[in-house]
């Protein structure tokens, strides 16, 4: 692989990734996430894995990123900036990440993997991949299909609206039921006169 292409792709992946992590506007973060996923798909293409690259575009950039953007838009005003965490939390997280990065760099330097860089002449054919899925890896393959089914049902069950109304909507629809807290003296509870009214 051409060195220029590699570093270009690394930039296309890492700069949007930083935007995902640091941006105060989560909508921009989600769009940066899509760019980063597409860069990763291009890296798979340079690694002679076109099928994985295609799946990356379809599943990650197409489905997961859009799903997360929808979840964000359903739960948050998209123009409102996010609350950032405390300085202490940011500092300690940065320290933890730098520690992990140092450890990983040391492991990479100590491993003999710099020498082992003779790439395969040809990529994996999609046909071989399919045969492997249905022979060597047939049990995990079937387990994944069960997992997807369970996820489908589970997500619907978790996200479904509950049958009974939450208390605040009952109060909103019937204001007579709402207790005026200012009229209740502390420690006395609700008096019988107010109960009649």
């Amino acid at each position: 692989v051409n060195a220029f292409l590699f570093y270009f792709l690394a930039g296309v992946i890492l700069i949007p990734a930083l935007a995902v992590v640091l941006s105060q506007n989560l909508f921009h973060a989600g769009l940066s996430l899509i760019v980063s996923f597409l860069g990763i798909a291009a890296v798979y293409a340079t690694l002679n894995a076109p099928f994985v690259a295609g799946m990356q575009v379809l599943v990650y950039a197409g489905a997961i990123a859009v799903l997360l953007l929808f979840a964000f838009m359903l739960t948050h005003d998209i123009m409102k900036p996010l609350e950032s965490s405390s300085r202490l939390q940011q500092g300690s997280s940065l320290a933890a990440c730098l520690l992990l990065a140092t450890a990983l760099v040391r492991v990479l330097a100590a491993s003999g993997w710099t020498a082992a860089s003779t790439p395969a002449p040809v990529g994996v054919a999609v046909g071989d991949l399919g045969i492997a899925f249905l022979t060597r890896f047939v049990v995990p393959f079937e387990l994944v299909s069960i997992l997807l089914l369970v996820t489908l049902v589970g997500a619907v069950v978790i996200a479904r609206k509950e049958e009974r109304e939450p208390p605040d909507t009952i109060l909103a629809s019937q204001p007579a039921l709402a207790l005026d807290l200012d009229s209740v003296s502390i420690g006395r509870g609700q008096s019988s006169e107010e109960d009649d009214s």
Partner: protein, 100 residues
């Protein structure tokens, strides 16, 4: 020349960026986004190993990870919506009703 070690370095950097996001974000959806970055870093590793030491397993495993990540994102979004319905925001610092 670009070898295996460069891809592993790229994946390590992406993993650390994702970890920083998971640790610092307070919005649940933002945490899920950072989590997806970490998944992708692992996938780059697997595909790179599969390319440089010819073997099918890395690619197969990365496809399994993509499938499981899709499942994880779906359940995660369902949980986020459920939490939102109960407490009207998805700030993880406020989601403490299970805390002892």
């Amino acid at each position: 020349v670009i070898g295996l070690i460069h891809y592993l370095g790229l994946a390590a950097a992406l993993f650390c960026v994702g970890l920083y996001g998971v640790l610092t974000r307070r919005n649940a959806v933002a945490v899920l986004m950072s989590l997806e970055l970490m998944f992708n870093a692992v996938n780059i590793n697997l595909v790179a190993f599969s390319h440089f030491q010819p073997e099918l397993t890395g690619i197969v495993f990365s496809l399994f990870i993509i499938a499981v990540a899709a499942a994880e994102a779906t359940v995660g979004v369902a949980l986020v919506l459920s939490v939102y319905r109960n407490q009207r925001d998805i700030d993880l610092d406020n989601a403490t009703s299970l805390r002892w």
